[in-house]
Symmetry: C2
Subunit: 216 residues, 2 copies
């Protein structure tokens, strides 16, 4: 089974690494990082690069498509090279997935019309513009389309999908292997749970999303 | 504030990316990935590389040291280049941290003697050989040393440390920014919680740890 994770300039690292660190542990699977050009691709804050091993053209028929999100997603909404690859790969994929604002790229590729999907909580409403029904669920399955909420939700998405692909025991083994027994020191991971002033801070500036300066 | 994350051959990606995606969002911080040589460094399964921007020599005095774990840790236990850098960086660091079996590298560098620390659950007992008291806690603070349990625990460690460095509101903002509201589809993330047969599977083969073939 081939899993292709798409990279593009200013993606968010954990959006890609969460699915990689879960789906990539499916026995006898191969995970390939793909991008418009092979080589290092910079993350949102510019302080890390992940290597794309192959170009989109090299990986036309993955079984699982993973599209991460991040501040760079906006610039990709009109990038035919990425959107065409997503559409073509989706035509033969078993599962087409996204993390965070990656769902907006699936939507822009025309794959989610009339479906339910999720995204980063700050971007959820943007799905409506593509005829997609947003849901605040952390992982949303609609047919072969699996979308995850913001950034860290790709881990939960990966485990959910392993359960569908390989069964509960394999998914549990992967969870135990990565010791995913989350114990966050705060309960502020969703806008419903975080203090109002923290929610307001993130609504007023994407500094913590960007890992960089607020937008001008 | 400078955060240095050490990379070495066959580290586990999420061990490094969890702290990066949390600590790296501290306002006005700089995160630098460092290794013996600058350039791409391969992860445990060989299917991904992260770029080390700098060499150890380039980053002698980070404020926060992060040492990830992974199957490659064993080969690093006698690598003077890495251990000397850890020791030297620790001499002036404010915080010295590890994820997963990275704590064994801190221990091998002589930093944890007489202290409490944690590691991946499969490696916990190995800490005793270095005069370190293992604890099954997910994040362990002992003085300026902060160790996290396996792989995904680096996210919890990062948020905990942000709270100490920048206060609760910043840590909560980062948690909300990465939408860390974990909802794993199984409750199998620790050996106390996972089904016995899943625990036995991981004890008998490190396939799910390695993301590759079982050891011979």
């Amino acid at each position: 089974m081939q899993i292709a994770i798409a990279l593009y300039d200013r993606f968010t690292a954990l959006d890609a690494v969460g699915p990689y660190e879960t789906l990539g542990r499916i026995p006898d699977s191969e995970t390939v990082f793909v991008a418009e050009q092979a080589g290092p691709v910079r993350t949102d804050n510019g302080q890390l690069a992940l290597t794309a091993a192959k170009t989109f053209a090299d990986v036309p028929h993955p079984d699982v498509v993973v599209v991460p999100g991040g501040p760079g997603q906006a610039a990709q909404m009109t990038n035919a090279a990425l959107l065409d690859w997503i559409r073509a790969a989706d035509a033969t994929s078993t599962w087409t997935t996204s993390v965070c604002t990656g769902s907006l790229l699936l939507a822009a590729a025309g794959l989610l019309g009339g479906r339910r999907a999720t995204s980063h909580w700050l971007a959820l409403d943007e799905l409506r513009g593509f005829g997609v029904e947003p849901t605040g669920d952390r992982v949303v399955l609609d047919g072969k389309y699996v979308t995850a909420a913001g950034v860290s939700a790709g881990i939960d998405m990966g485990l959910t999908l392993i359960g569908r692909i390989s069964g509960d025991a394999v998914a549990q083994a992967v969870q135990l292997g990565i010791e995913y027994d989350p114990q966050p020191p705060y309960d502020a991971g969703s806008p419903q749970k975080a203090p109002a002033e923290v929610v307001d801070l993130l609504r007023s500036t994407s500094r913590f999303i960007l890992g960089a300066e607020p937008p001008t």
